[in-house]
Amino acid sequence: MLLIPCPYCGNRPEIEFAYGGEAHVVRAADPRKEDDAAWTEFLYFRKNPRGDHAERWRHAFGCGRFFNVKRNTYTDHIEASYRIGEMLP
């Protein structure tokens, strides 16, 4: 089980959290101008790397807030957590 550092509450066990997928996936500012390829990319394609991965978590059974985590998907080692709006460390 992961020990996840919530930027607001500190280290807590994984069962308190909900995973929210890849972080920094930005919805287009004007969706009407997006073509099919861009929509397909936005809806269905994710990086899925073996290595460093920026991902969104929510402290669902704690403070309830969203934040981002940088985790290595091969070792499951969490390198950093940071608040929404902050840059990837």
Partner: protein, 417 residues
Amino acid sequence: MQRYSALALIKQSLNGHKGWKPQWRDPEPKSSYDVIIIGGGGHGLGAAYYLAQKHGIRNVAVLEKGWIGGGNTGRNTTIIRSNYLFDESAALYDHALQMWEGLSQDLNYNVMFSQRGVLMVAHNVHDEQSFKRHVYANRLNGVDNEWLTPEQAKAFCPPLNIAPGMRHAVTGAALQRRAGTARHDAVAWGYARGADALGVDIIQNCEVTGIERDATGRVTGVQTTRGRIGARKIGVSAAGSTSLVMEMAGLRMPLESYPLQALVSEPVKPIFPCVVMSNTIHAYISQSDKGELVIGAGTDSYVSYSQRGALHIPMHTLEAICELFPIFRRMRMMRNWGGIVDVTPDRSPILGKTPVPGLYVNCGWGTGGFKATPGAADLLAYTIAKDEPHPINAPFNLERFGAGRLIDEAAAAAVAH
């Protein structure tokens, strides 16, 4: 190839079983092949076998980074069924199920396919409506599936608890009698032996590190940890690592890789006659011929390539098992492991051509690829040999996401495979 039979067994027993030969060679890679299959699991080995057997393409190599059958082929819970909701899925999975029925004879290798029946239990009104819809849809597609009352389910699977006082009482069940289990390792070994006998090179400990393309974009070969190998066509059947392999050809895939866990109990005498699945309280269970209860858990929630998951996932499953089968409450679990499954947005596989000429892909089987092994292998071989998909796998193309023609088993096939 040394054929296996009762007579061969008697002959070998007369000289102390010293005459058995290795089931496949361990060749050095040649400088080039007509077709290279990346991934030596059941799907990849099977594709090589059918390329040689059905399409006469024998200059084929299977490249495996570890040992054959050491990935998800050797890690799954061996459940085989075809009771999927949509027409496209029913055709695909039932094609596989029909091939399972003759596989041991075809390969001259006992894959221990056992049609013991898969019972999917319902716990509430939603389950009943959903499963009955599956039963009707399956029957229209010629796939057997029937609805049982709790009492009939109990008669079919005596350890099942149908007491009305349960937290999640059993209100009925859908039963596919042709479904069942097979011996997963034997599937990999049987295909390897069959393919090898037809001239296919099975190259283990050979990790692909790059895919070469010429100026037109067409594939020309692969770079591996055992040197460069040329190829006119490449089939990728790499399960959880598919994203990484396809990236070598400059292709991104609509896949995410998750750990999926399973566990087995200590071995006991035959107690459990079928496969039981519960989507609602999330458990599936059968008993292997060695006597272990084979129990499948769900995926972990996050993307990972670590081949292990967190303990709370199997704990959740075991709580469900203990409620459905109080008889197992004092059993001890012996081993627990994980495999990496590649999941598509619609939970249906991707099987067909790619935008790169000469590159073909079979991936996205998510948590339920084992059941499709012979069918997926057959269809991948067909697609590679003919350079066009078979009508059965044509809907499972890579373009369906952009076109909006999803085959959305995500809700229909439910959580468990």
